[in-house]
């Protein structure tokens, strides 16, 4: 089965190939890219398209690799032993399965999303080497080896906050989602707003890429911001003229707050617009 994009997600040929290669060889796919280019969405869409259940593991700065495998709930065992519960004799009752365990032992192949792996401690990826490579791990408490019945399709996303160790990278496939060019972007918008008027879209896209190309922005607006902005433009029923008025006078585009999420950026933007107006 091949991933071809879906009717809610536009995938470029290189992205499709990366996904299909990862799926064919059952290797994890590491996805990087600017925030808002649809890294997390990708796992959801692929899982849906290939009809695989999706398990998600969202990484935080405090997440430990062990938590993805299993945890031994020692405290409830202590409590149960005080109460004389029969359960206490079997340690299996206190092993809480983590996401990886669930993915490994599932009856059918599953998709697994390890989201924002760069948020965790610097050693986190190193602790998962064997699990990612061989798709197995050892449970010390019960002395059993958990081995994947079907190798899950693993997606790992990273925002580049920390560099990942080479040993880890070597075990993954890698894809960098480039910021979409204008054509791809038009397709993406068409998927999300099938009924958008052509002229409005053209004007909005023009403004969007102009804003993106401004030098010195702290956070450039991304795909998700463009989609939000378009949603607002449609909801507020902003007339086309409001976006096109730049021939005679330069104005701040309406609802620009949806594109620029940073006070300093908004100020900078207004300053630039003001300067341009004075130049005329």
């Amino acid at each position: 089965m091949k991933f071809q994009g879906s009717n809610t997600y536009v995938a470029t040929p290189d992205l499709m190939l990366a996904v299909n290669a990862a799926a064919a060889l059952k290797r994890p796919l590491l996805v990087k890219g600017e925030p808002g280019t649809g890294k997390t969405m990708l796992a959801e869409e692929v899982a849906q398209a290939l009809r695989l259940p999706l398990l998600q593991w969202h990484i935080k700065s405090t997440t430990k690799a062990q938590q993805g495998l299993y945890e031994y709930d020692a405290v409830s065992r202590l409590r149960d032993s005080q109460l004389g519960d029969e359960k206490v004799k079997d340690i299996h009752n206190y092993i809480v399965k983590g996401v990886l365990w669930q993915a490994f032992t599932a009856d059918q192949p599953v998709a697994l999303l390890i989201d924002e792996i760069d948020k965790a401690d610097i050693e986190f990826p190193n602790d998962l080497l064997r699990e990612i490579d061989r798709m197995e791990f050892y449970v010390y408490e019960t002395r059993e080896l958990i081995k994947a019945r079907h190798r899950p399709l693993v997606f790992i996303t990273s925002n580049n906050e920390k560099e990942l160790p080479d040993a880890f990278l070597r075990r993954c496939f890698f894809h960098y989602i480039k910021f979409p060019d204008a054509d791809t972007m038009r397709q993406i918008v068409a998927v999300h707003f099938p009924n958008l008027k052509k002229e409005l879209l053209a004007a909005a896209m023009k403004t969007f890429y102009e804003v993106r190309n401004l030098p010195g922005l702290k956070k450039k607006p991304s795909t998700s911001e463009l989609l939000d902005w378009l949603k607002l433009l449609v909801a507020e029923d902003i007339p086309l003229e409001a976006l096109q008025s730049r021939d005679d006078k330069v104005a701040v585009p309406p609802l620009v707050g949806a594109l620029l999420k940073n006070e300093q950026d908004v100020t900078l933007f207004e300053k630039l617009v003001f300067m341009q107006r004075n130049n005329r």
Partner: protein, 404 residues
């Protein structure tokens, strides 16, 4: 199979490992790309190999960081387009590269012939030919070698990438993909990443843990007691206070501007790694005051005397600066470019290094240029040769010195 390709990537300085290479072969075997991979619209394959697909596949499997994409694009082009790209390469990659390839690929007989001509001369001619060829190729005429007139092409050597006499422009539309070099901006030749710096700094941290007493680990005791089904199990651990104290003095502005990115990286790594970190800024050389906030550098001054008194000599003193200035700024009173300093910078430097016996100077300028700058050697003398470049190796050496 594809071994030449693999080595082309290696010689383009891409960190490709054997494991990844084998994985690529595996992917080809499974048929991720190829005649049976099917068209993108879902219909059955047309029986043709698509070079685009191979490009994407090999990139996905072999390249693990977008900063290498550009290098990969160039190496890929050089392998699949042969001579045209090599002409480009000679600008980046020195003659040795070509020479090595030639030595590998030529038979003994050919070598003998060539030796008559002399390597250097040959290389010169070869390079010239390559450049010519690029133009001629665009004009659409013949490659060297096919006519049999050139001294090195006659027997058809075929080093990786130098594909003389290969069919021209295979699949022109596909070539464009990597020729766009869309990832040029991501190519980041700097070798210092925060991760590497952090690993280098760990050495200092480890040292700090030595010689500490053991203490009761309450959390682990509770956990293991519970795990033991209620039998008390006391756990002790060595005390883990990271006692390293660092006083970081950083040069800002002027010639340091070009190093700002790397210094920032180092700073962020240092900040994450040490609990006791104090930092101050100076400009070019240390004088009688420093500042903490660059914007308010003239309103919020911290006298150097106070800094010397405030921190005890356990602090490890690290200067970060390019030590590039006029020698007067170090040796003369009143030599500062910014104000009239009463005492020379050298005096203050001496005072600081006396107050903090563990000190080092990290210099972001490449070590090769130090010898050409008078001020660098003066500073080196003043800090008793404890100047290290801002590279992983330099940092490690500095840390080793500091943790002694």
């Amino acid at each position: 199979m594809l071994i030449d390709f693999f080595y082309t990537l290696r010689s383009a300085k891409l960190p490709v490992s054997v494991k990844e290479y084998l994985m690529l072969l595996e992917a080809l075997q499974v048929g991720v790309v190829g005649p049976n991979s099917g068209k993108r619209d879902g219909s059955a394959g047309d029986g043709a190999y698509k070079i685009d697909d191979f490009y994407y596949l090999s990139r996905t499997v072999l390249v693990k960081d977008e900063k290498h994409y550009d290098k990969f694009d160039r190496a890929f082009a050089s392998y699949f387009k042969g001579v045209e790209m090599i002409a480009d390469f000679t600008r980046d990659i020195p003659l040795e590269w070509l020479r090595k390839n030639l030595e590998l690929e030529l038979s003994a007989e050919d070598k003998e012939k060539i030796e008559k001509m002399g390597w250097d001369e040959l290389m010169e001619t070869l390079k010239k030919r390559f450049e010519e060829q690029k133009e001629r190729h665009e004009g659409g005429s013949k490659w060297i070698g096919t006519g049999g007139t050139s001294p090195f092409g006659a027997n058809g050597f075929n080093p990786q990438g130098i594909r003389i006499g290969q069919e021209k422009s295979r699949n022109k539309s596909a070539v464009k993909v990597w020729d766009q070099r869309a990832y040029k901006d991501y190519d980041d030749t700097q070798e210092l990443g925060t991760r590497n710096i952090k690993v280098a700094l760990r050495r200092l941290r480890k040292f700090a843990r030595l010689g500490n007493e053991e203490e009761l680990d309450l959390a682990d005791t509770i956990k293991s007691t519970a795990a033991n089904a209620g039998w008390l199990d006391i756990k002790m651990v060595p005390e883990r206070h990271n006692n390293v104290k660092v006083l970081l003095l950083m040069d800002v502005g002027g010639t340091m501007d070009e190093h700002i990115h790397r210094v920032e990286e180092m700073f962020s790594a240092v900040k994450a790694e040490f609990k006791h970190l104090e930092f101050y800024y100076f400009h070019n050389c240390v004088y009688d005051f420093m500042w903490k906030n660059n914007r308010r550098r003239f309103s919020e001054k911290f006298p150097t005397w106070d800094i010397i008194r405030k921190y005890n000599k356990d602090y490890k003193l690290i200067f970060v600066g390019d030590a590039t200035m006029s020698p007067y700024e170090i040796l003369q009173s009143g030599g500062s470019v910014e104000y009239n300093n009463e005492e020379a910078g050298a005096e203050w430097l001496q005072r600081l290094t006396n107050a903090f016996p563990k000190f080092a100077w990290i210099n972001p300028e490449p070590q090769g240029v130090w010898q050409y700058r008078q001020s660098v050697s003066i500073i080196q003398q003043l800090v008793s040769q404890r100047m290290y470049p801002l590279t992983i190796r330099g940092l490690e050496e500095a840390i080793r010195l500091l943790s002694k």
